[in-house]
């Protein structure tokens, strides 16, 4: 039997997860084709939940379609669009449909997305949601009622990796106290800072899966530094991108080098290319990662 994501988390394997976005529409062909590109590389596909507050297909539906196609999924769940009733019922539905891994997050504010007039919910934050998931796994909902067939989720959360950001580190520790199976991070470019983060959080003992985004150009790096919270592309990487004859190739090389470094520091990587996974297999091969383990 092939091992699942949870079993691999408990092993010494270096894990590869990859982001897949549900479609803006009802046709799943493109998402499934994108997933097919990385079938032999990704241990699990991370299915986003209206990411950047842009309305897309439900992650439950898209996750189920990916499961049907033989992929393992990690379903993201934000606190932005659902109150405590909806979050719990979504979790029960997801589990009943075969989704075994979830990753919870606050969610970008509705004003940043394509429906800025939407009422943001934020009935609870990820720490509180993690606590509720723990209770559900133990057989009770938030109100203390019995749940038949408690969902045995493998549960992740996201974190910032700047060790000097005291409040972010405090929040990470609160999440860890809720009984987490893994942390997933924002894209890492500064492996020195990431190493300091890993040292700072050594006592937490939650496996860390580091995010990576292949750069396409120097301007993309500048844009992310200015606009994407938690991303810090160091000057020397920007310089390499500026001087590159083929910025796409250079971005792939930088990403592969970063992954090779991260292999020494954490339990896996989470690759989030802008657009499709066309280059992902080549980046992973350049980084010397093996094909997905069984």
């Amino acid at each position: 039997m092939p091992r699942n994501f949870k079993e691999k988390l408990g092993s010494d394997d270096f894990l590869i997860t990859a982001e897949i976005s549900p479609p803006k529409g009802t046709d799943l062909c493109k998402a499934l084709a994108d997933a097919e590109l990385i079938r032999n590389f990704a241990d699990a596909l991370n299915v986003t939940d209206n990411q950047r507050a842009v309305m897309r297909m439900s992650p439950v539906a898209a996750s189920r379609a990916l499961l049907d196609a033989g992929h393992e999924v990690i379903m993201q769940l934000t606190c932005r669009d659902r109150n405590r009733l909806a979050l719990q019922s979504e979790l029960l539905g997801a589990y009943a449909l075969g989704i075994r891994n979830i990753c919870v997050m606050t969610g970008d504010h509705t004003t940043k997305g394509d429906h800025p007039g939407a009422r943001p919910v934020y009935d609870m934050d990820p720490v509180q949601l993690l606590d509720i998931i723990r209770r559900m796994k133990e057989g009770h909902d938030l109100a203390g009622n019995l749940i038949e067939g408690p969902p045995a989720f493998t549960v992740g959360a996201v974190t910032n990796t700047d060790p000097s950001n005291t409040m972010q580190m405090l929040k990470l520790r609160k999440k860890a106290r809720m009984g987490l199976d893994f942390f997933q991070t924002q894209a890492i470019y500064d492996t020195g800072q990431f190493e300091a983060f890993m040292e700072e959080t050594l006592d937490i003992e939650v496996p860390v899966i580091a995010g990576v985004i292949p750069l396409g150009s120097a301007s993309m790096a500048h844009f992310m530094n200015r606009n994407i919270p938690g991303i810090n592309v160091p000057a020397e990487i920007i310089e390499r991108m500026e001087n590159a004859e083929d910025p796409t190739e250079e971005g792939m090389s930088i990403c592969a080098e970063t992954i090779a470094e991260l292999k020494k520091l954490c339990r896996g990587i989470h690759i989030m290319p802008i657009g499709k996974h066309k280059s992902t297999p080549e980046i992973l091969e350049m980084a010397g990662t093996r094909k997905k383990s069984r």
């Binding site: 606050t106 504010h109 934050d125 972010q168 919270p229």
Partner: protein
């Protein structure tokens, strides 16, 4: 203090397009301090409505529109309210509601009610309190994250702030930066360690 702002005059005029014989009620409390329902603003509204061809029967500024006792108490201030076909209330939503409760003609708002905030040294501070009904502000150094964080987070900041600024409004400090600084000054950073979980019942 209830923070409210004046609707554009064109919108007020549109609301009143089928009305004449308008009586204006201001508010001697928050709306006066915020200059959206005190005597000067009421008189300015009266002038502009008349310039727009409307007939205004009269006006008054009760000490607080949200605590008007009865119709008679308004008549005592200006009996012309009895001739009014409608009332324009220059107060917050509570003021409009109470005036509606004690009168029998259509009541229109001239303001948009925004939040529970404050005013100090001329500066308006919106959204200081979310009126959650379960005050925890002490744990956050007197700065409420439910009121001031757009995501109402209790356990610490989201990942959305850049350089200490709020994801939603980059002009604003992330409230968690303010809470941290305040608690550090108070020597009570330990209060941030508390994990806030949800409970039902």
């Amino acid at each position: 203090m209830i923070i409210s702002s004046a609707k554009p005059f064109g919108e007020v005029l549109e609301l009143l397009k089928d009305e004449d014989d308008i009586f204006i009620i201001g508010c001697g409390a928050c709306a006066t301090k915020l200059h959206v329902g005190g005597e000067p603003e009421v008189l300015d509204m009266l002038r502009r409505l008349e310039e727009a061809g409307k007939h205004v029967t009269g006006w008054c500024v009760p000490s607080a529109a949200c605590s008007v006792a009865s119709f008679d108490s308004l008549v005592e201030k200006d009996p012309s309210i009895k001739d009014a076909g409608c009332i324009l209330v220059m107060a917050c939503g509570s003021g409009v509601s109470i005036v509606s409760k004690v009168t029998e003609v259509p009541v229109y708002p001239s303001n948009n009610t925004e939040s529970l905030g404050g005013l100090s040294q001329g500066e308006v501070f919106p959204e200081l309190c979310a009126m959650c009904g379960d005050c925890k502000i002490y744990y956050f150094g007197g700065i409420c994250p439910i009121g001031q964080c757009p995501k109402r987070l209790l356990n610490g900041p989201c990942g959305g702030s850049i350089d200490g600024k709020c994801e939603v409004d980059p002009e604003k400090d992330c409230v968690w930066e303010l809470i941290y600084t305040r608690l550090e000054k108070l020597g009570r950073l330990d209060l941030l360690e508390k994990v806030w979980v949800c409970e039902e019942g």
